[in-house]
Subunit: 290 residues, 2 copies
């Protein structure tokens, strides 16, 4: 690999999963004068999103092909963006290089839902790549603290947020989930592998009378911040409104807001709050609830 003197003019490799965020990362890098090359994960990356940028498709398990593509395009810096549903070992159908890497990371990577992504980041670093977080590329990618739109959570909503933080922390210890929905202290729904959209889709039918619930999203305590941070987009807000929620709360500095302005506009249009919490501060508000 040839070291380039200015790291910010080096080509940026993007391993792209689903959703709009890989395109936003690519656009931000190009806007900063940095060329990009995308390896798009088959079945996950959206063609309309990555189409405008130089790219090749690869299966998640085709590690040999992925590494070859990255080297061929002289990629040194890498970012992993966009959700990839964790495959089963069988789904993975690793190529020759992939099989060697699997042996290296071991089956331990399959014991939890994050194990695999963390292992991939480790392997890429060992292969000589510098793995960055999406927030290293996109300015303001991480949601800030406080109420972003016109509305703010009331004490009942703050209590629900505090309970959501407790739940995600507890689940995080078992390496499950980054989101839940809480209404009046009741855990309406807890996210496993189905994703936030599907969880929101079932929450409407579970809603109780009275003040609506809150979607709470935060990274797992041990999570590598370079892989699979929780993300919120305008669609999340629309779906939350359809599920009769009163707002969306996220871990400030630990959640990607894909298109912040559109998120705020969607929240205001739907009458929802969009609130960035510091987990340690928010959790302490619990006792203060009437």
């Amino acid at each position: 690999m040839v070291e380039n003197s200015d790291p910010n003019s080096r080509i940026l490799g993007i391993l792209a999963g689903g959703g709009p965020f890989p395109g936003q990362v690519a656009a931000a890098a190009q806007a900063a004068g940095r060329p990009v090359f995308i390896v798009a994960f088959e079945d996950f990356a959206e063609p309309a999103v990555i189409g405008p940028y130089p790219h090749e498709y690869a299966r998640v398990g085709a590690a040999g092909r992925i590494l070859a593509l990255l080297r061929e395009h002289r990629v040194q810096d890498l970012v992993l963006v966009g959700p990839v549903r964790r495959p089963s070992l069988l789904d993975l159908r690793p190529d020759y290089e992939g099989t060697k890497i699997l042996a290296r990371i071991g089956r331990a990577a399959f014991s939890g839902d994050d194990g695999l992504l963390a292992a991939i980041v480790r392997v890429l670093a060992e292969e000589g790549f510098r793995v960055l977080g999406a927030h290293d590329i996109v300015v303001d990618a991480l949601g800030p603290r406080g109420a972003l739109g016109k509305l703010a959570p009331d004490p009942q909503a703050m209590a629900d947020i505090a309970r959501g933080i407790d739940i995600i922390r507890a689940m995080g210890r078992a390496d499950v989930g980054q989101a839940c929905i809480v209404q009046q202290g009741i855990a309406l729904a807890v996210e496993a592998i189905e994703g936030t959209d599907q969880m929101l889709a079932r929450a409407g039918a579970l809603a109780r009378p009275g003040p609506g619930g809150v979607l709470v999203k935060m990274a797992k305590p041990e999570q590598d911040r370079r892989a699979d941070l929780p993300a919120i987009g305008p669609r999340t807000l629309t779906a939350a409104a359809a599920a009769k929620l009163r707002g969306v709360a996220f871990e400030a500095g630990g959640t990607l807001l894909t298109d912040r302005a559109a998120c705020i506009a969607a929240a205001d249009a739907s009458g929802l709050f969009l609130y960035g919490f510091d987990p340690d501060v928010a959790a302490t508000t619990k006792g203060a609830t009437p």
Copy 2:
């Protein structure tokens, strides 16, 4: 209240939620020569199930009416059977007595999903009732250890069961859930307020190729065993088969099997295992997995 000399000839009060189990408890008590009186929770108890037995309907929040009914029918021993979706405070619409009881148990009862049931058991005890578990009435109500049907879990399934136990324990610390679905180490679904049937209904679409997943059910660590034990019925097995699972595993001695023979028959007919685990033993098998 008049004490009766033989506790086993005293009338048995049944606070009945949904499903077939209240009827089975009533039948078991009557078969043992014990009269029963059912207070059926409106919107939860199934008329076809409780119809054959002396009963009255009451709202969950109508504590005054419930206590009056129990005293009027000279009930001293009580059992709570069948799921009741935890109501919100607003849903509850407590009567005068219910409001006083709510003030007594405090809003703390609404902080978790079990808090309310545990508080109800405590209040009933304070009101002079002896609160029993359903397993005190129905012989063999609690599922035993080991494989109950023709099939037994293989090492992969045992590893999934161990992971399921980890997940339920972690969630239990946040007072959420008694069930989850694990396939090849992946948490496909985690149960919150929606119940096992709805969780199973979404799991089929989330299944991965390769060996199917396992439904794991167990009581929360701190749970009062007289209220809302996890339950498995023949319908659970049928739904698990439809979700492409390979089996259902439950905490031996801590899970109600409603109609054990029918459960075993359904498991065998669907090619599923039905397996009672000791959480402490099963959790240790994790490291032994290939």
